[in-house]
């Protein structure tokens, strides 16, 4: 019995040491490592930059701030002092998180919501599919289905609204020229890098007001979550000593006013009817068959209606709808041609010889179900780069607006192409082709990933010229991932990159003349 006890102890110790040697390391989320934003330049002329939708910043209402010797302002300062005297660890964590930048964090919040909602609806008992409804967003399927075009549009609206709101904010900042609380009262500590930018209205609250108001429309089932983020951000500005309550209220109000211009556009931009109906879906087939071509059919079981066949009608940001048609590439190889068969044969060859490297490439760029979509991936790539640039908030917003208007317009042009030709997937043309990731439920030509990536790389190449071929290489990898995974033919990805680049050029042209320049001032 004694020997037994001794042995048991030894074994227990052995198990304990084994368990310990496999102790888990905490997952390090790279976005939590971002440092506090310390802009290199204030971009004081941002009130003269070219906005997206608004025309006259002075047309919005921002009441004059309380005088710095008024009882109201002193009460606001006392609120900060009270918060700073009893600051909690949770509040410090909120400060650390939000100090990386308002535009950056709201972009991440939106990526989070896109990933949450990027789930295709489950079928009804009869094999049909329900559609999400914005008027009843909580009923299954919850609104929205944040698929790639929906997501690209959402990123564009929120980014552009934040940008215009900041332009307006600069107008009022210069008009009222109020210093930060830590300048007006030296007993208030600045828990973040100090800034000489006038603090009324708060640039963080302007971004928050614009983002919240836009996202109420785009993600109506998540308003409570969105409002919680907004409260955290406002708390951060006060705890950090960066803004008093009055500056936050004024900023939030201005952000909401500017967002109203954008929500009005979004309600009438034809995205709401992009899903089409059975008659239109059938018409796509008959028209394609009439041209003597094999038409696209859903590879899902039960067959799912094609994704947003009328997204081509959505109003673009960078050009007009006539340009959408002008940017449409020529037709793909006829599905009866030897060239098409050769293209499919190349895909089959990749499918029959999957390599670990191709699996890795595919998974990295797949951006499918429950992800932030390809446009979101390029937002993440851009964010990792922008963090290194120490942009002002307004330049952050402008650069994200350029990127995301290009992504949305690339989605419009790509979807126009897809439904103009209604071209089958390689795995439809040859059912021997098995894929390394899920096949999207829309026509093949041209590749969405390639359009998104071409457009994004073109914009980022312009904004960050010192990165060499980094973004072009990434775009080519993204496009290639769709060929080696069996999702697309070579013509799909090559043409997709070209079209995406062409759309991106419109954003570059805009950037060249918007008054911001590449570096801050």
């Amino acid at each position: 019995m004694k020997r037994y006890l001794r042995n048991t102890t030894l074994i227990t110790l052995a198990i304990a040491s084994l368990c310990c040697s496999s102790c888990k390391k905490d997952i390090i989320d790279r976005t939590q490592q971002y440092p506090a934003l310390a802009p290199k330049a204030l971009d004081m002329n941002a009130d003269t930059w070219k906005p997206v939708l608004i025309s006259d910043p002075g047309a919005f209402t921002v009441n004059a701030p309380d005088a710095t010797n008024s009882p109201a302002y002193i009460a606001d300062l006392n609120e900060i002092k009270g918060l700073q005297r009893s600051i909690t660890d949770d509040q410090r964590a909120v400060v650390k998180y939000w100090s990386a930048g308002a535009v950056l964090r709201w972009n991440e919040i939106m990526r989070n919501l896109v990933a949450k909602h990027n789930l295709a609806p489950y079928q009804n008992v009869d094999g049909s599919y329900p559609a999400p409804s914005s008027s009843n967003p909580f009923a299954y399927p919850t609104f929205p289905f944040a698929n790639p075009p929906y997501a690209a549009r959402a990123y564009a609206y929120v980014s552009a609204a934040e940008y215009d709101a900041l332009i307006a904010a600069y107008h009022f900042k210069k008009m009222y020229n109020r210093s930060a609380p830590y300048v007006n009262d030296p007993t208030i500590q600045a828990l973040i890098p100090k800034s000489a930018l006038p603090s009324y209205p708060s640039e963080d609250a302007v971004v928050e007001g614009a983002a919240v108001e836009m996202m109420k429309l785009l993600f109506p089932a998540d308003v409570a979550y969105i409002e919680q983020q907004a409260q955290n951000e406002r708390l951060y500005r006060m705890v950090a000593g960066a803004n008093v309550r009055g500056e936050l209220d004024a900023g939030e109000s201005l952000g909401k006013q500017v967002a109203d211009v954008f929500t009005a556009r979004a309600r009438t931009d034809k995205a709401g009817t992009a899903g089409g109906n059975q008659a239109y879906w059938t018409q796509l087939q008959t028209k394609t068959a009439a041209r003597g071509e094999m038409y696209w059919i859903s590879l899902e079981t039960p067959k799912r209606p094609p994704m947003l066949p009328l997204f081509n009608k959505v109003k673009p940001f960078l050009f007009d709808t006539a340009t959408v048609v002008a940017l449409r590439p020529g037709p793909p190889y006829s599905t009866n041609s030897p060239e098409f068969k050769a293209q499919v044969a190349e895909v089959l060859n990749y499918s029959q010889h999957p390599t670990r490297a191709n699996e890795e490439l595919t998974a990295f760029w797949a951006d499918g179900t429950a992800t932030y979509t390809p446009a979101g991936h390029w937002n993440a790539i851009a964010a990792d780069e922008f963090v290194k640039q120490n942009y002002s908030e307004v330049r952050w917003a402008r650069n994200f607006a350029l990127l995301n208007m290009a992504e949305m317009d690339a989605a419009i042009v790509c979807w126009d192409t897809k439904y103009a030709y209604f071209n089958p997937r390689p795995s439809q043309a040859n059912d021997q082709i098995k894929t390394l990731t899920g096949v999207p439920n829309f026509p093949s030509y041209s590749s969405g990933h390639s359009n998104f990536s071409g457009a994004a790389a073109t914009v980022l190449n312009y904004l960050l010229p010192d990165r060499g071929s980094k973004f072009t290489d990434m775009a080519q990898q993204a496009a290639l991932s769709r060929l080696v995974s069996g999702i697309h033919t070579r013509q799909d990805i090559e043409v997709g990159l070209q079209t995406g680049n062409a759309v991106g050029q419109y954003a570059v042209q805009r950037a060249e003349s918007d008054g911001a320049g590449i570096t801050g001032n």
């Binding site: 048991t8 992800t371 899920g438």
Partner: protein, 318 residues
Amino acid sequence: MKISTKHLFQCLLAIACILASVQRSSAQMDNDGIMIPKNYLCPGVMYGNSQWTNYWEGTYKRSNGNIGSLTSNMYSLMVTYGVTNNLIATVSLPYITTHSTAGTLHNQRGFQDVALNLKWKGLKFASGGSSFALFASVTASTPSSNYQADYLPLALGSHSTDFSGRAVFDYTFHKFFFTGSGAYMTRSNITIDRNSYYTNQLIYSNQVELPNMSDYNFRTGFRSKYFIAEGVADISTSLGGFDIRKNDMPFPSNRMNMTSLGANFRYRLKSFYNLEFTAGDDYVVAGRNVGQSNMIHGGLSYIFNLKGKESQVNYYKN
């Protein structure tokens, strides 16, 4: 140690004539009450075939027209060695293929995780017709190839390095037995091919934390020198993780729970006593974020004494 030509030949013969074998059911298992004597070696080959059509998406049970029926085949090599009369070591390595009957997703194949199990008999009482034994069993496993974990439901495994500790008690009364065991398994973080993923929020990392697991296993039946027939119940539980959302894809850190019931048979011939046949079936009766699989398995193993001298000892004693 010296292996005679005769034994090598017999061993090769045994392996060569195998038609079918196992995944979980092996010649020696971490959750049974059976040992082999010192200096004995027992190589074996196992085959398992697992299939499911229905799966649990969280707690919602459904089928999926884009998967159809999902089949896994497992071909496993294993060797057990009697280090002492109270300590055995088993090494195993499975080769796995997976494929689905519907949808377009590519199948997978490859070597999965190499595992080492040490089982130690710490205590035994015998009195009259009954005996009681306690065992401690530890297992370490680690991927033997660079297979893709983030490719469920077709992935070969979770690609984690796992350690588990199990306590086993075994009671026999004449030829009837009952074995119960409980295990705790820690699983390492894994690295996936993308640098962000959604659980209940987006995480910007290529590292994924897998939940640890517990497992309870109960086996009871008849055990003689030549034959074992047992019923098996197994309850495997993730201690964390998240549910698959409606119509989402599965993910390695899902909360995967499984309760299975099965039957298992092991048999030795009097005339060719070194050889053991095993066969069995396990069926998942309840689950969460897993397929409702039915797994048939069979195996063949060959036991011999490395010192050359052997008698027909009862290998099925605890």
